[in-house]
Symmetry: C2
Subunit: 497 residues, 2 copies
């Protein structure tokens, strides 16, 4: 049994149930789990840990690549298993625990967690739980649909638990490129000069003695929960494409553009989907996650290849991807998130970065994380890794939320994740503001007139006119700067009636 999945016979002894493997955990441990944007997460151990926490206290620090699927984050949070969580999450139940202060959430740039572990700035990982397609004869772990921080966790953990997922096709072997930078300060450059380049192993190299348990599972990843494109995301896509056509026309890039990065979620997915009708050819992606749109662009031939840390698809697209997997073998590379998001590589390749804002202010400061300035949505994810170092840093959002009660364009961002220094272009369904080379006083009218919903433009103009009276590089009326958020909380709408 499992000879094709566990290719080192001596490791057969380590096969056990998730319940047995869960006994390796102790209260207070730091655990690193595979999983990035619902892809490649461990399926059995989260549930087994929830069970164990019913019998005895089990408060863990949980690190992952990014968000988990299968409601694992919520189930573990509700069972009290997760006391501390980093670097990202996207689960409704866990979010509640975070915002109530029951779970300490450390919101990090996704490229930095591995570096901080390696530097000793974070407590070391005691146990790594890694979902795998198979284990090689020398003990190498072949990951499934994401790579995330798995290689770093496995390299550092005292014990490794491998979940062999029988539903993950063996054909995934060869998609991964496992490269781990050395310790600082004496390390070399990351030798990646193009999105398609491979520089590492196809499995995570670990000494087989450190594999403490192997658990067999058979359930698939949770499908993507991105919504289909709509009129507004279509409009956003059109503005982005028109802008990029202008860049090509101005000679700043060719019709292959620059390597594309697109954040997780509905809007970024829709914008990429819109590229199918664009004139661009021979594009590449250097991103953190591949959604349905990336596969569509590979199929249409406009995308020649795609590099990322995970593949997160709808159920239908997943089925199609697996059926035709050989078509993608030479065209997709899965990397550790430290590499997919690395500032060194992002700056060198000069990406076009496309990320989603919750809100932005009239000067171009972006809030990606905090609803109303206080409550965590998901986390900053890779948006900072990309926005800071990309050649073109674009942020997209719909101009209003909650049926118009919330304006995504506000006088003052109630939480700042990306400062005006790192934001080149803002886009809503109403239009696009190209902020490159502009001072704050030049940015404000452009953002208000091009991006804000028409219903909110008079209010924004009035705020800016009032602010100008006080002068400054970045004029504000401090007493009113956050009043829109307060009004929404008080009256249910940011709009002045």
């Amino acid at each position: 049994m499992y000879e094709d999945r566990i290719r080192r016979p001596a490791l057969m002894d380590k096969v056990m149930t998730a319940e047995q493997a869960a006994r390796l955990f102790k209260n207070g441990m730091t655990v690193g789990m595979s999983g990035f944007t619902r892809a490649g997460d461990a399926k059995a151990l989260p549930l087994a840990l929830v069970e164990r926490a019913r019998q005895e206290p089990l408060n863990l620090t949980l690190l992952t690549g990014a968000s988990l699927g299968n409601d694992s984050d919520g189930l573990m949070a509700n069972a009290g298993v997760v006391a501390r969580r980093m670097p990202f999450q996207a689960d409704a139940a866990l979010r509640r625990k975070i915002n109530s202060g029951e779970v300490m959430f450390i919101d990090q740039h996704l490229s930095e967690t591995a570096e901080q572990l390696r530097s000793g700035d974070l407590k070391p990982v005691d146990i790594a739980v890694i979902e795998a397609v198979a284990i090689t004869p020398d003990g190498g772990i072949i990951p499934t649909m994401s790579l995330g921080n798995s290689a770093n966790f496995a390299q550092q953990a005292g014990k490794i638990i491998v979940e062999i997922n029988l539903s993950a096709p063996l054909a995934l072997e060869g998609f991964h490129d496992v490269y781990i930078p050395g310790a600082r300060p004496h390390r070399g450059a990351i030798p990646l000069l193009a999105p398609w380049q491979r520089m590492g192993w196809t499995s995570i190299p670990v000494h087989p003695d450190r594999i403490a348990a192997i658990v067999i599972t058979d359930s698939p990843d949770s499908p993507s929960n991105a919504l289909p494109p709509d009129d507004e995301t279509d409009a956003i896509a059109r503005h982005v494409i028109a802008f990029l056509e202008g860049e090509v026309k101005a000679g700043r890039m060719g019709p292959e553009l620059r390597p594309l990065q697109a954040g997780i979620g509905t809007i970024a997915n829709a914008v990429l989907h819109g590229l199918i009708d664009s004139p661009f050819r021979d594009m590449t992606m250097y991103s953190e996650v591949l959604q349905d749109s990336a596969i569509e662009l590979l199929d249409s031939g406009q995308l020649s290849m795609a590099s990322a840390s995970s593949i997160t698809l709808s159920a239908a697209m997943h089925e199609k991807f697996i059926r035709n997997i050989e078509q993608y073998r030479e065209r997709i590379v899965l990397r550790p998130q430290e590499i997919s998001n690395h500032p060194e590589v992002v700056r060198r390749l000069g990406l076009i970065a496309l990320n989603t804002a919750l809100e932005f202010d009239i000067y171009g400061n972006v809030n990606s994380t905090h609803v109303g300035g206080t409550h965590m949505m998901n986390g900053i994810g890779g948006s900072g890794d990309f926005a800071r170092n990309a050649q073109l840093s674009m942020f997209v959002t719909k101009s209003v939320a909650k049926d118009g009660a919330i304006s995504s364009v506000v006088p003052f961002a109630a939480h700042v994740d990306h400062t005006e220094h790192d934001v080149d272009v803002l886009v809503t369904e109403w239009g696009l503001a190209d902020l490159r080379g502009l001072a704050p006083r030049e940015r404000a009218p452009l953002i208000i007139e091009n991006c804000a919903h028409p219903d909110y433009r008079p209010q924004l103009r009035a705020y800016y006119a009032e602010a100008l009276k006080g002068g400054g590089q970045t004029p504000h009326v401090l007493e009113q700067a956050l009043s829109w958020h307060a009004r929404y909380k008080r009256e249910g709408s940011m709009l002045v009636k």
Copy 2:
């Protein structure tokens, strides 16, 4: 005459007065001038441009390395010569013009200006004005006390004006390492693996035909305006040193620490000065500017070498430096600011970054630039380049300003230049808050109790207690979040009487 300074005889024809050279400029042009933190700035052309603007309209876009000396920025601003300015300044008169909206100031990460010029995201430089020690036989320009963006300006400009400064010793030849990254997306890694490494030329290579004018000057750089250490900066230095001793003890680094970066100004200079009494040995610097303290540490032998983009010294230290210049030849490297501040290199070397905050909030968001949230002080400079990518990102400030009327620790930063994601350690004269691996709710009490002035702690505690009632990852009372700044404006003090 000048044979030792103009070593290509054919260029002797190009020697002219600054007034003659100023006639090359046309209204609306983009001009790139040498100069970084008052070091190596052009001395004659700024004054000649001011003169010319008396006769005819001359509104220029002025790019530099960083701040200029000799009141050049102010004189040019007052004469209307500077219509647009980037990426940094530190002049009182120019600051007034910026804050009144008369000059458009684009505040940039100092590593990014050159990249944006190369990518065509900024309008190209028409004329470069570069202060030089000499011109080599093949037309290479040997810079003076800074390198800044000079090589990039010279590479791109249609015409180059060289100011040969006779007061700059010929012995400066050999201190510079001119390396310019290629255009994206097809460029290699920056081959810098250690602070002392050299990889380029000792002069800026340009075709001699592009040198349109040579102007002879003889006046020195403006001396540094950093203030001497005081009791509070001494206390800050002690906290920093004790913390770094803890890092060594914990095994996270050796007694050579990591390459050090320290921002311009009094506090960073004082902290470095404090290292003279520290147990650390064989340290290196990889910074953007070397101040008096760096020379002191080189002299004491604790610093083995220092890399930066400029040398900005007091008059006495400058005189000593020039007198003993041969002692420093093998121990100082001057680089383009794109390289001294490059995210790729900063991340690879794992720097300890020490920068000055204007204010920070109880969650660790830092304001480096905007007084009262609206009025520009100097600019973000290199602080973002370093803070984002350093292994340890520290921000220092005195806990109060204006005799206690302003608290540097506030509920909500009135302008955010560095987000909580990029800030590891905060230090005031009262103490140090180590924020690594902490969630916002863990950060707030630590920052309040360790860093805030005791007079302001009760107010901060009360704000935080009130904020907690509303919940969230980052609790705030939006109506009160910016009220401290408003109170200062209204009542002259942030302190509630």
